[in-house]
Every structure is written in C-alpha cells, then in structure tokens.
C-alpha cells in the first residue's frame, strides 16, 4: 500500500480566531503538492497545525499518515510518525550543533547515530552548504539561505515520509533554490517522500515541479488543479479567490532580487 498524508475537515484557531476553516487534501507517497495563497490565507498556520506547534488550537478534523491520527500526538511523536516541517524561519539554537541534534533525532527514530555525521556531510554537498557550518551552532549567525539549506539537509538525513515546506523559497537566491528544489525532488523518488510545499510565489514551482496545486484562501482550499494552475495564478494573481489584488504572485522572495525590498514575505533574516 502506498503511503498517504490525509487531511480531512481540518479547522483551527489562534487566539480564539478561526484561521483554518476546513481543509481537505491528500498527498500520496512521491507526490508534490503545492499550496499557494495570498497573505493571511492560513498557509503558515496550516504548516504549524500539522506539526503541532503550541498556541494553535485544533477545533476539528483529522490528519493521518497511513491511518495513524496525528492530531492527538505531541510534536516529536508526529515527527516520528513520519512528518517533517521545514520552517519558514528556522530557529537558532545556541551551542547545539546540527550533528548533536540529528544524532538524537536519528537515535530517537531507531536509526544509527554513528552514521549521522557522514550523512550530514553528504547532504550538505547536495544543497551546496559549506560542511564547516555543520559544526557550528544550528542557524546561529547564518544567512537566510544557509538556514534554508540547513532545513533541507535535515530533511535528507531524517528521510521522513512527508515533508511540509513552509516558504522554503524565501531567503534563497536562484541557484540555492534550484539546489534545494532538486534535492527535495530527488527525495520523492529516492525514498518516496510526499511533499506539501507552501508558497506564495510560483517561482518555487518552476524548480520544484508539483503534481497538484491547491489554492488556499481565507482558511479553505478553494481550488485544486494541475501544474498549469501555478502558471495561471502567475498571470491573474489571487484576486479571483478574494485575495489582495495588490499582491504579486510572481515576484521573488530571494535576497538576491532587487524587488525583495518591497516583498512582505522576504526572510527578514536573509
């Protein structure tokens, strides 16, 4: 049986305000689903609700991986059930190296911690990360691009069944975006990774090719289609879905893009 991440009727609120109003989608092993949507549509909330971040209140629905309900589980248990989240703003952890953390993560999942350093080094090469960074404290004093590469190489070492990528493109220049995307895409065939790529911009999807594109607006999936939909959105914007017409769907969140100055989604740490 092929693996699947199944989200049904998911509703959630933050501070008493309902943000997710019923999300339904299913990602199969090896598939790439994109979730696109304007600012405030609930994209990041979806990512954190899936991972179980404190402060987000789930009010209904279900999220399962191969039938195992995740919503009653603690964050670490969800990770062990096969879910991974690449954070939009990866957290700095002073004094803790990537190897220290991933050795614990791999050991917790029943893997061999002795392989971790070697696997990290191999993954670093694949996303163009300087291996010296692996000995430094996680994300401390790193650029936005280095942080996003860090997220991706953790994904490579941990080999989850499903990965939620929350604005993985923000803070990445074109070359880095290409390397990160190609690593994630390779994972879909290497270990059957299913991907839920959350993004505001279509530029990610030029590199990380989705099988399915969903449009999230006001807490609901309002449209679902093939890869062409991203192209269509690039042309028309989110206006048709009740999004802010001022918001460009193209543009680039990258630090290397001059347009980044006016981009509300650019990684402020980049």
């Amino acid at each position: 049986m092929s693996s699947s991440l199944c989200i049904q009727g998911l509703t959630a609120s933050v501070g008493g305000k309902e943000i997710l109003r019923g999300i339904d989608l299913e990602v199969g092993a090896g598939q790439v689903h994109a979730v696109m949507g304007p600012n405030g549509s609930g994209k990041s909330t979806l990512a954190h609700v899936l991972m179980g971040r404190p402060g987000y209140e789930v009010t209904g629905g279900s999220v399962t991986i191969d039938g195992v309900e995740l919503l009653g589980l603690a964050t670490w248990e969800r990770a062990q059930a096969g879910l991974f989240l690449a954070l939009q703003y990866p957290v700095e952890v002073p004094g803790v190296s990537m190897a220290d953390a991933l050795e614990e993560a791999v050991a917790a999942a029943g893997g061999d911690r002795r392989d971790v350093v070697e696997r990290l080094a191999a993954e670093a090469v694949r996303v163009g990360q300087d291996p010296a960074i692996l000995r430094r404290a996680i994300n401390v004093d790193m650029s936005g691009g280095e942080k996003k590469r860090n997220e991706t190489l953790q994904l490579g070492v941990l080999r989850p069944r499903f990965a939620v990528l929350d604005e993985i493109d923000s803070g990445l220049d074109v070359d880095a975006l290409r390397m990160v995307s190609s690593r994630v895409e390779a994972a879909t065939t290497e270990f059957g990774l299913g991907v839920l790529a959350i993004t505001h911009y279509s530029r990610l999807l030029n590199e990380l090719h989705p099988d399915v594109v969903h449009v999230l607006a006001r807490g609901r999936i309002v449209d679902t289609g093939g890869p062409d939909m991203a192209t269509e959105l690039e042309r028309t914007g989110y206006a048709a879905y009740g999004g802010d017409t001022e918001e460009p769907v193209t543009g680039a969140g990258g630090a290397g893009d001059p347009a980044a100055g006016g981009d509300p989604f650019a990684d402020p740490l980049a």
Binding site: G52, A74, W76, V93, A108
Partner: protein, 405 residues
C-alpha cells in the same frame, strides 16, 4: 571561632549581601580544623582532572598544603610552587590584594594554615597547568585557604583549582589572588564541586598589569550555599580580563556571584559572561558592577549574565550595574532570566526529539557556548558530564509526560 563570632559578620541588609544566605550562618556551629590530623587523613573524594601533563600537582587538605609536585620541565622553566611560610620574606604585594575586602577575607587570612604561592618568573611560559586540589574533610569543620599566583612580566601560566568534599557539613573560605605583571598571560579555572552540605564563601581578586591578559573561568556545581566574589582590577594600560562563570543549582542549592570589573587605567578591556541555570528549588544570584574610574580613558567593559530557570520553584536574580566616571568609554551590560526558549524546544521536537532530550541539548548548548575558548579545555568534558548528570536527575522527575500539542 570566638574571634569571628556571628556578631561580627555582615548581614543581608548590606547591598553586597542582598539575596544571600548570610543570615543563616552560625559560625559557632563549626569547629576549626585541627592541624595534626588533617594532612594524614584521607577523605577519599576526588575528581578526574583530565589534564595530560600538568606542570605541577598540589594537594591541599582543609587548607593545609599536604603535597607539592613539580614536573622537571616546569621546574627547569622556573615555575615555583611553595608554601608561603617557606619564605622568609614574601614578595612585594603578595597576599595583600584581597586584604580588608570583608570579614571573610580577614577570617581566611587569620585562619588559613598556610598560603600557596605560585610564581612564574618574567619571560617564562609554563607548559601544562598547575593543578591544585582542595579536599575538605567536612564533619562540621570550618576551613580556609589562600592561593596566590604571581605571574612575572611577559610570563604565561595556567592554574586549575578544584574544590571537593564529601556530603558532610563544612564551611570553607577560599581566597585567590592573581597578580599579573606587565604583559603576563594567565589562565585560571576554579571548579567548585563541594558536597551538598558545604558552605563556601570565596573571594577571587586579580590585578591585571599593563598589556597583561587574564582569562578566568569559575564553575560552581556543588555546595549548599556557595558564594564567590570576583574582583578584577585593571591597573595597567592595555590590560585585559575575560571573566567567565558557569553555575547550575539543583535541590535547594544556592550559587551566589558578586563581580567587580574595576578599570583604573586607560585602554583596558574587561569582558564578563556569567551563565547559570537553576532547577528544582535552587537559587542563583548574580550581582555585578563595572566601575570606570577617572583616567581610565578608552575603556571597553562588557557584562553579560544569562540564566535559565528550569523549574517553577527555582529562582534567579540578576543585577547588573555600571558606575562610570570617565568619558570616551564603551560599556554595556545585559542580563536575562527565563525558561528554556519555547521556539528552540519546538524546533528540536519537530525533528522527532523528545522534550526531555531537547531540553538537555538546549541547556548543554547554553553552557557549551560559554566554554568555547574558556580556560582549562581539558576539563570541559568533565564539566559537561556533570551538567548532564544534573539535568538527567531533573528531567527524570520534572517533565510531565508530553501530551497533545
């Protein structure tokens, strides 16, 4: 103990003793350690120093210097490690730096059976640390010790002092004086690993001469109430001092630090970083002052104190202060008291790491950050293991079974 009856002691009404447990001290409850039996006794407590080839090893029991061993190469390089009483006349200034600081320094001066004098002649660099191990027999005894380090012009030496005792009641008053002549380079590390019924009232004072460099690390993991006052006086132009401390209290332990960065010469630098953690019902105190005196133009003085509070019943106080009488100086202080960062916990847990393991990683990381570049690197693994053991005890009991998010 009559001479130092409790009547003559300071009280917590004085600012420098605020938050302390000084009011709980009953000197009359202690007896003085006796000379005769002290050196012969073996308390059977020790700690692995992990330092490959020390320049010297000194054992001190209840303040009595019981043995001094110098390596041949250190002796050839001119290192001298002696009891002060072996000298007919003490070198100028030695033994006077801490004088008059408070009642306990007076007490140590009067009570300490002998002082240990570590001297390095001008221009000599001593390879390997001088390892000094203080053992206390406890058993309700009050003891004191004096360690005097005199580093000559452009000399270099590293000194590591360790304090250990068993679990019986003890009171110890250690005084450490570090004297750095022009361009001297001294690394000093003090590890307080006393038993959980010991009181320790320590005083470390350094005088940093022209272009001299002091790096000091204080580690406090043991004791019931353990206080350390650290004064660093920058008296020569271009002198620099780096003061580091790591402390971690559990149970009802209290670690209490008072610091003074005292700049009286131009272009001097002091950089202080003290990091503490408290769990269970432990207390931590940090109170520090940067003083820039008139004439200390171009001073750079930094003071940072960070505290992790790992349990609801634990408390940390942090009181930084500045007193600046000169212009053209660069000073900063920062202090923080708080729990383990929630974002960091979430991040590590999102990788499948259990909360107790995530917390251990974060707390160890918090301290590892401080140990980078700190004196006595050979001891860091031991310190790390001891911190980890403390955390283990805490996490085994304190963390609730993680439920739904």
């Amino acid at each position: 103990m009559a001479r130092f009856s409790s009547a003559g002691l300071p009280s917590s009404a004085e600012e420098i003793w605020r938050y302390s447990r000084i009011d709980d001290l009953d000197l009359d409850a202690f007896e003085l350690s006796d000379a005769g039996d002290a050196v012969a006794a073996d308390v059977g407590v020790g700690v692995g120093t992990g330092s490959g080839d020390p320049a010297a090893r000194v054992d001190i029991l209840d303040g009595w210097v019981s043995s001094v061993e110098l390596s041949a190469s250190a002796r050839a390089a001119g290192l001298s490690v002696r009891r002060l009483s072996e000298l007919t006349e003490a070198p100028g200034g030695v033994g006077g730096l801490a004088e008059g600081a408070d009642a306990f320094v007076d007490m140590a001066t009067a009570m300490a059976p002998d002082a240990l004098l570590i001297e390095v002649p001008a221009g000599k660099a001593i390879a390997g640390p001088v390892l000094v191990t203080h053992r206390l027999r406890g058993g309700g005894r009050a003891t004191a010790s004096q360690t005097l380090v005199r580093a000559g012009r452009a000399s270099q030496v590293s000194v590591i002092e360790t304090l250990v005792s068993d679990e019986s009641v003890a009171l110890h008053v250690p005084v450490v004086e570090l004297w750095l002549d022009e361009a001297a380079n001294v690394d000093y590390a003090g590890l307080q690993l006393l038993g959980r019924s010991a009181w320790c009232l320590g005083h470390q004072v350094s005088q940093v001469g022209r272009d001299a460099t002091l790096r000091s690390l204080s580690v406090a993991l043991g004791g019931d109430y353990a206080r350390l006052r650290t004064d660093s006086r920058l008296t020569g132009a271009g002198g620099s001092t780096r003061l580091l401390a790591l402390y971690f209290g559990e149970g009802t332990q209290m670690h209490d630090f008072r610091t003074l960065q005292d700049h009286s010469a131009p272009k001097t630098t002091s950089d202080l970083l003290f990091k503490g953690a408290v769990q269970d019902e432990a207390n931590g105190v940090y109170s520090g002052l940067i003083r820039v005196r008139r004439g200390a133009v171009g001073t750079n003085a930094f003071q940072t104190n960070r505290n992790l509070v790992l349990a609801e019943g634990a408390t940390a106080w942090s009181v930084p202060n500045l007193e600046i009488e000169e212009n053209d100086v660069r000073c900063s202080h920062a202090s923080a008291v708080g729990p383990v960062d929630e974002e960091q916990m979430y991040y590590l847990q999102s990788r499948g790491i259990r909360p107790e393991v995530a917390e251990r990683l974060i707390v160890l990381g918090f301290f590892d950050d401080l140990l980078v570049g700190a004196p006595a690197p050979a001891l860091h693994p031991t310190v790390r293991r001891m911190v980890s053991d403390k955390l283990q005890r805490h996490l085994a009991s304190a963390l609730p079974r993680p439920g739904a998010a």
